[in-house]
């Protein structure tokens, strides 16, 4: 059987690797972005000089041949679902028995005047980084439109080369549609402390053409201010990269609609990663989760289904992480920007304003629901187990050290945290476990 996979990102590659583990099928992975799989999440580090492109490739180049995964560096122009064949930009068509669509995302553009000028681009693909590099010499200022995870990465990239950056963020505080108020305020402060000109509650009106087809300034909507700049970064989110499939028999809404086995409305055609839209997502989860981890888990799930070992997609307890300049962020479970009715929250922030722990729990049953960590690392497995098992807040507080994943010798702020959480929750408790590996192992295995 021939499995063709369009897209060599994390979801497509994970599918390929697992199909190989589970079967002897012929596997072809097609991409027009780069010849080999690289880590999209590491794009920023190439520009910042932490890594070269080579270092961002998770597998050495020999890996693919050794595992009999054929790579095709080409673009798929069209799909003939009936004839099970892919029309390529160059060369003959590729026939398949089963097809996996792992097409990824594309940068959002909201119809701003000037959005297609030179020196205006998002940050998604390898080409986008090359484009930034190309326009960096002599760059006096960059304006970044949109403050999400990618926006702040782009700002950090330019700042690493001392290029002044202005960031236009529609919200009243950085990323407060996702981060609770205090964390959002912390990151807003941190952004400013890195000398980034953060404009909150501000939007892009238009981008000005210098007469040669290059962007030379932006106009802001609310203040009406005009700001000269040599580069405009568009980072107001992404959408599934599926426009070219909208007119086909494939069921496409915002993304490619898939069932719980990640199969589309067409038999033998699957979709995974950023481009997939779940018909029935788990309660409390979005139908498109454009993150690395979802792509990885979907790839594994799809491979099982392709190899006739049917399993349903189950992303487990929500988790994610990011790094805002110097502040690391991790989240486990339910910690939305706006606290829902059924949850209560307790929040401790270190006096230095760069570390925080938030725990959400069910108001009635006092079972923990989620953790938000700023500048402190927590153990994934421990948090997940607590949430899955519906552990009570008191037990979690007593054993909070089990979750601490900071390097050895780091302060655990035990007493400070205990006082604060006891006061907020009204639960008097004593710290029971130390931060010992053996305790953790016993807890997880037990």
């Amino acid at each position: 059987m021939h499995i063709a996979i369009i897209g060599n990102g994390i979801s497509g590659i994970t599918t390929a690797r697992w199909v190989r583990k589970l079967s002897n099928h012929k596997i072809t992975v097609i991409s027009s972005e780069t010849e080999h799989f690289f880590s999209r999440t590491a794009l920023m580090y190439i520009y910042m000089g932490h890594m070269r492109f080579k270092e961002t490739k998770p597998y050495e180049d020999y890996f693919w041949e050794k595992n009999r995964i054929d790579l095709v560096y080409n673009h798929v122009d069209d799909i003939d679902f009936k004839g099970k064949s892919l029309t390529m930009k160059s060369g003959p068509a590729i026939k398949y028995d089963k097809l996996v669509l792992a097409l990824g995302s594309a940068t959002n553009k909201f119809g701003w005047p000037g959005q297609d000028l030179n020196k205006v681009a998002g940050l998604y693909s390898y080409d986008d980084v090359e484009n930034m590099e190309k326009h960096t010499p002599g760059l006096q200022r960059a304006v970044i439109v949109g403050g999400g995870l990618i926006g702040i990465e782009m700002a950090e990239m330019f700042r690493s080369r001392d290029i002044p950056v202005t960031m236009l963020v529609r919200e009243s505080s950085y990323w407060n549609n996702v981060l609770p108020e205090e964390e959002s305020a912390m990151i807003s402060r941190h952004i400013k402390s890195h000398h980034i000109d953060l404009r909150l509650a501000e939007e892009l009106e238009s981008i000005e053409d210098d007469g040669q087809g290059n962007a030379c300034a932006v106009k802001m909507k609310n203040s009406g201010e005009r700001m000269e700049c040599g580069y405009v970064g568009l980072t107001a989110g992404v959408h599934p990269n599926v426009r070219w499939l909208k007119e086909t028999e494939l069921n496409v809404e915002r993304g490619i609609v898939v069932d719980n086995h990640l199969e589309t409305n067409i038999k033998d055609v699957y979709a995974v990663g950023d481009c997939a839209q779940l018909a029935t997502p788990k309660p409390g989860r979005r139908n498109i989760e454009a993150i690395w981890y979802a792509g990885r888990m979907m790839g594994e799930t799809a491979a099982y289904n392709i190899c006739e070992k049917p399993i349903e997609y189950d992303p487990g307890v929500w988790f994610n992480s990011a790094k805002f300049l110097d502040i690391e962020y991790q989240v486990y479970g339910e910690v939305p920007g706006k606290l829902p009715e059924h949850l209560t929250t307790i929040y401790w922030e270190h006096p230095d304003g760069e570390k925080a722990i938030r725990i959400n729990y069910h108001s009635d049953s006092k079972k923990v629901a989620g953790f938000n960590l700023m500048g402190i690392r927590f153990r994934h497995e421990v948090c997940e187990k607590w949430i899955k098992d519906g552990t009570s807040l008191k037990v979690v507080l007593e054993n909070l050290n089990l979750a601490n994943f900071d390097p050895e010798f780091y302060d655990t702020y035990e007493e400070m945290i205990r006082k604060s959480f006891a006061q907020q929750s009204g639960i008097q408790y004593q710290v029971k476990s130390k931060r010992l590996m053996d305790r953790v192992t016993a807890f997880l295995k037990g």
């Binding site: 010499p137 189950d314 988790f319 690391e328 994934h380 953790v440």
Partner: protein, 535 residues
């Protein structure tokens, strides 16, 4: 896809912040100190030797400190790898190559032509750069410097000042701060001040020098079992006996115990001088270590071959002097029997531990036990034929070859000279027999491992890139697997640079023989999902 141009070769560094005006001034101050020392070596001295020494080294230290404060102080605490791959010095650009050649050249002179560095011939007065260290040597020993005194002083200076730089660079990371203070302490006191002072106080033991560095141990200290070294030790009274017994304890008891508890890091990145230099002065080049599977394969063959070589060499050396008269209570016969028994015990212990480990490997058992048995059998045959030389070659022959190729060429010339070309741990990774032994212990019976935090890895590659030992950390982390590698020196940098908080160095006794188990991997199903290292 066009290829990213190699910016380490371009004149215009795209990272302007790398070097501001003040940073340049600070570098100039350091270079001025270096120039004064250089002029002295060339015979141009403006002050007395003592003053020249003080002025030039103060300027160098000052330059490093000023640069550190200026460069890192102007930024917030955090990971500081901006522009690393664009830097000519740090990424094999022209400056990196020049520096590599200069250091390599210096080592060649140090080992084989000290007279070019100014070493006085046949007790004659020193000239050149070595004479610069005479006043300091007079204070310690009451006699002019040797090339080794100069080397030790420079080495300690480098670890100390670049250690401060490293600490400031990682000032947000307590593990790095404490670890670096530790290597600075061990170098300054145990490797340098205490031995220099002790030998000064004891009048140099009438020229019968022996190693008084409490942390130096066989087989890194390959001279330990030499006749002259043992003789010098045993003739130095209590203090000599103390060092002799301590050295044996260190190898057979202290070291395995600490490695069991904390992994080989207790030595390699907390105590050892070679490691100390690599972690401090060598830090700018840590990312240059080769991460490929091929490099790993070469590494495993090479480092274990050196270990074997040092073992054979030591046996041969001891064997060849044991026969000389009744000076030692140990006879050749006794020694042969002890060695054969020891080798068999080691082989059996190795096989036992491999079996006990969940990811143990049968081929490795054959290979290691085979080698041990081969050495034992050869030793036995040799003894049966009554040859005066172990392995039919003289101990001196072995020692000579080992000393030249491993002791000098590998650990010195290549080990440090190639910092700017192959990264800071070439010796530790490919050549050090000590690292090989500790590595085996770490792999087979240590509590140490690097834990991967569930499913949080984004495969970015920072950990692998900045692992000085060339371990592809990411290949484990992205599968949710713990990292258990013989070569890991526990520097903790992978954990520090990971932008997602995925890695933690830890010690645990619950699962010593199943550290790579995947019970905690975040997977979609339990059904037959296993991780395979090579998949």
């Amino acid at each position: 896809m066009s290829n990213y141009i190699d910016k380490s070769l371009s004149i215009a560094n795209p990272n302007p912040h790398n070097l501001g005006l003040t940073e340049r001034l600070a570098i100039l101050v350091g270079l001025l100190g270096l120039t004064i020392a250089g002029l002295h070596a060339g015979g141009y001295s403006f002050f007395s030797t003592g003053t020249t020494f003080t002025v030039s080294f103060s300027l160098m230290g000052l330059g490093i400190l000023w640069y550190t404060i200026q460069y890192y102080g102007s930024k917030q605490a955090g990971i500081k790898n901006d522009g690393v791959w664009f830097s000519s010095l740090a990424s094999r650009g022209v400056i990196g190559w020049i520096l590599g050649i200069v250091i390599t050249g210096f080592y060649v002179l140090l080992y084989w032509h000290p007279e070019i560095l100014g070493m006085g011939k046949d007790g004659g007065a020193n000239g050149g750069i070595i004479s610069l260290f005479d006043p300091l040597s007079e204070i310690f020993h009451g006699k002019p410097a040797s090339q080794w005194f100069m080397y030790g002083t420079m080495y300690t200076f480098a670890i100390f000042f670049f250690g401060i730089k490293f600490i400031y660079k990682y000032r947000h990371n307590k593990y790095q701060i404490i670890r670096t203070l530790s290597v600075m302490f061990f170098q300054l006191f145990l490797a340098y001040l205490i031995p220099e002072i002790l030998s000064g106080l004891n009048g140099g033991f009438d020229g019968k020098w022996f190693d008084m560095d409490l942390k130096n141990q066989w087989p890194l200290d390959y001279d330990f079992a030499q006749k002259w070294h043992i003789d010098n030790m045993l003739s130095a009274g209590t203090i000599g006996w103390f060092f002799f017994i301590w050295s044996l304890l260190l190898v057979f008891v202290v070291s395995p115990f600490l490695t069991y508890k904390y992994g080989k890091r207790w030595y390699c990145s907390w105590v050892c001088g070679c490691g100390g230099l690599a972690e401090t002065a060598g830090d700018p080049w840590r990312h240059l270590s080769d991460k490929s599977m091929t490099a790993w394969k070469i590494e495993r063959w090479m480092i274990h071959a050196v270990l074997l070589f040092s073992f054979v060499m030591t046996i041969a050396v001891i064997y060849s002097y044991l026969g000389d008269g009744a000076q030692y209570s140990l006879t050749r016969n006794g020694f042969t029997i002890i060695m054969i028994i020891l080798l068999l015990i080691l082989a059996a212990a190795y096989a036992f531990l491999q079996k006990k480990n969940k990811d143990g490997n049968q081929n490795k058992i054959y290979l290691a036990s085979g080698s041990a048995i081969l050495i034992a059998v050869l030793l036995g045959i040799n003894w049966a034929f009554g040859s005066g030389n172990a392995y039919f070659l003289g101990g001196e022959t072995f020692k000579g070859v080992y000393g030249f190729y491993i002791g000098a060429l590998f650990s010195g010339v290549i080990g440090v000279g190639f910092y700017p070309l192959m990264g800071s741990r070439v010796w530790c990774r490919f050549g050090c027999p000590m690292a090989a032994i500790l590595g085996l212990q770490q792999k087979l019976f240590s509590k140490f491992r690097i834990t991967t935090n569930g499913g949080q890895c984004i495969s970015c590659g920072n950990c692998s890139t900045y692992c000085e030992m060339g371990i592809d950390v990411r290949s484990y982390a992205q599968k949710g697997q713990n990292i258990v590698r013989a070569s890991c020196v526990g520097c903790g940098i992978c954990s520090a640079v990971c932008p997602r908080g995925v890695l933690r160095l830890e010690n645990g006794s619950e699962d010593i023989f199943s550290k790579t188990d995947d019970y905690k991997t975040i997977h979609i199903s339990d059904e037959g999902v296993k991780i395979d290292l090579l998949a």
